[in-house]
Amino acid sequence: MEYVIEMLNIRKEFGTFVANDNITLQLQKGEIHALLGENGAGKSTLMNVLFGLYQPEGGEIRVRGKKVDIANPNVANDLGIGMVHQHFMLVENFSVTENIILGSEPTKYGITNKKDAAKKVQALSEQYGLNVDPYAIIEDISVGMQQRVEILKTLYRGAEILIFDEPTASLTPQEITELIQIMKRLIAEGKSIILITHKLKEIMDVSDRVTVIRKGQGIGTVITAETNPNDLASLMVGRQVEFTTVKGKAFPGEEILDIKDLVVQDYRGVEKVKSLNLNVRKGEIVGIAGIDGNGQSELIEAITGLRKVKSGTIYINGKDVTNMKPRKVTESGVGHIPQDRHKHGLVLDFPIGHNISLQTYYTKPISKSGIIDYNKINEKALQIIKDFDVRTQGPTELARSLSGGNQQKAIIGREVDRNPDLLIAALPTRGLDVGAIEFIHSRLIEQRDNGKAVLLISFELDEVMNVSDRIAVIHDGEIVDIVTPENTSEQELGLLMAGHTEHKKSQDLTKKGEDQHVE
């Protein structure tokens, strides 16, 4: 068998910490090879080694059978290795062509020759069926289209081997389907692909083989056709994993959150939430399904007091909290798992123990007449660390050095421990692996079963379908429909999210359902 890339027994250390220990990955020509592993398992490290950002302490890399030394990313580029990053590296107000040629601008008499470049982009786009307009401005095109620009960027530079880093993280279901077709087209044209992901469904759909790594160790490579999601998950996590979230029937009580005719503007004064109405009751989970940027962030920020409300009212427990300060809202019984845990959820340079008390540091018994008792902070931290299985060296470890999943568990512990009547969970499982996702979902359901109201915001349809009791679909700042998971399908939700309300009634409403719910 011909291998285009062989990473043999790679070892990468950071000080005393071994990020990659004896990992072997062999990429065949013309295959889609998935790289599967939990967060912090060492996937990114391995790819950074391949891309020349890190130098390995052991092992060797061969490209088309020849041993190579990838000293920096330029070498990787020359070897035909291209990376499609999870977070796009695009200049928003540049055109597609300008972004693609950025850094290697073709010139004619010393002047950038955009015309020829655009032609070349057009040709590549047609060859691989990408359907990208070379003259479009990045900020005007959809996220899926932006990703294709990233793909074109690597192809333009002559990449033969493409690394996709979590490519479906911010795509809609329709866009994911299209991306899968694009990947198959690339293979048909002779390219080879490494797909980094922890979404088992995608692996089953597109990949030929899977290499699994766990805690920095290479576990092995399996042929996709000969395995199943359950086996892959246990290989990745090292134990059995429950997939269908086990949850009983909801018994909703009185309204906890009631939003009436809410209008919220973003910082430019553009209305992002337009006359929105929504309520969440005791003992139910309401999921908000929608594509990123349809007003979800503004909605949560308005509820939690982080953003001014233009008009409308927000009631929590019957009390008007519109435009109250964040602390007042919190004290009215709101817990908030923010969507960006690094920006809002944690003070990364604080110890994790301090972060666990970030909402309660000023209250008794931690603080008394302005004096803070760090022993109490550490006691609390130890309790949360234990109850929520936060893997850390202890309360004094900096939040920055915890893995994403453990950071998130600490935040959830902090918010849930205060026993709020309303728990707002914004993208609570973003970027986490199946083990952590399973844990977080069961915690949300536990809150519901304890008679709390839960508002879940997610871009993942699986998550919305599995966890919610009711699903409110948001599009362009409005709730376009409220459905129950039993009576809808991912297809229908996808269309609603894209704003196609007229299709809704004609959908078959009996799809899915019973098997999602264990009564």
Binding site: P326, H336, K343, V347, F350, L358, I371
Partner: protein, 349 residues
């Protein structure tokens, strides 16, 4: 190599390297480095008098360093310590000459006036930063010039057209017969005790109070602080006010201790700017500031003896002192070299 030995070795090696390079500079300029360093040593530790004067020199550096470090810990870059120190100096001296009161009232009043003046000078950039997002570096730099020339004008007014005020009443003075007798009549004054208390105050605020928790949180991450319900604007203003108060106290040391008057100045004192280096050398911790201020104060004062005792021109002396401080500040590079060396050793094994 263990962490502790590295931590201990780094400053020692830094100082030795600095001294070596300083020696080379003296050598190529045609002066005897041994004589030079002997003069420096005697200038610092020569007798009780020089020791007293050295400690006196350290005192305002301590407070200027605290001011910069406190703002740093709250995520703010206070370049305005110089101006805050100058207004504090003037305020203390003014209270010292304007009224005569029993010492138990007069001295605290003069000290509080200095702290209040510095706090006010810190409040303005804090307010502008919090309300209008004006960068504090720009405002504090400009506030320095305003402080310099406003106090000069005020000194002229107060002194009836002169360039210095009367000496303060003894009731407002920090001088102490005991300390003077102990140090062969140096100008060492009680301010050092106040400065050391302030080191404790900074430590207490940052490490023991709810306010300190908030200030540090805001310094690290404003968004998360806002999310958790802290009043970010209030904390920014408060951080600048407290920082300014420390700086103002630095001015009081000069007004009530060293000089016992304030004179109009042609330029900045430099203490406030050196405070930035003191704070950074001390890694913005209260204990570190003691180390930084001691290094700065000793070298600055001891160096004065080098032209007299060893005949080295003041320009060369200043270069040598700058080189030593430069090497101490480059501790990071030395730490890196040490790590490399120990890694190599490991490989060799």
């Amino acid at each position: 190599m263990s962490n502790r030995t590295t931590n201990l070795l780094v400053p020692i090696i830094s100082v030795i390297l600095g001294l070596l390079v300083g020696a080379v500079i003296m050598l190529v300029s045609g002066y005897n480095p041994l004589e030079g360093y002997a003069a420096l040593w005697n200038g610092i530790f020569g007798d009780m008098y020089t020791i007293g004067e050295t400690i006196r020199q350290i005192t305002p550096y301590l407070l200027a360093g605290l001011a910069v470090a406190f703002a740093f810990r709250s995520g703010l870059f206070n370049i305005g310590v110089e101006g805050q120190l100058i207004v504090g100096w003037f305020a203390a001296a003014y209270v010292g000459v304007a009224v005569e009161l029993p010492k138990i009232i007069h001295l605290p009043l003069a000290i509080i006036a200095a702290a209040a003046a510095g706090a006010l000078w810190g409040f303005v950039p804090g307010l502008l930063k919090a309300k209008f997002h004006v960068h504090e570096v720009i405002v504090t730099i400009m506030m320095n010039y305003i402080a310099l020339h406003v106090t000069n004008a005020l000194i002229r007014t107060v002194s009836g057209g002169g360039d210095r005020t009367e000496s303060i009443f003894a009731s407002a003075s920090l001088r102490s017969d005991f300390l003077e007798n102990l140090t062969e009549f140096s100008r060492l004054h009680l301010g050092i005790i106040l400065a050391l208390i302030m080191v404790g105050v900074m430590w207490f605020i940052l490490e023991k109070t709810t306010l300190g928790f908030e200030l540090k949180a805001v310094g690290f991450n404003k968004n998360a602080s806002q999310y958790s319900g802290m009043n970010v604007n209030k904390n920014i203003i408060l951080a600048m006010v407290i920082s300014g108060a420390f700086a103002g106290l630095g001015g009081a040391m000069e007004a009530l201790g060293t000089f016992e008057y304030v004179s109009s100045k042609g330029g900045f004192t430099g203490i406030g700017f050196d405070g930035i280096a003191v704070a950074l050398l001390g890694m913005n911790t209260p204990l570190g500031v003691i180390f930084g201020a001691t290094l700065f104060g000793s070298l600055k004062y001891g160096a004065l003896n080098m032209p007299n005792a060893a005949g080295i021109p003041i320009e060369i002396v200043e270069i040598v002192i700058a080189v030593i401080i430069f090497f101490v500040a480059s501790g990071y590079i030395i730490r890196l070299l040490l790590l490399r060396a120990s890694a190599k050793k490991k490989e060799a094994k």
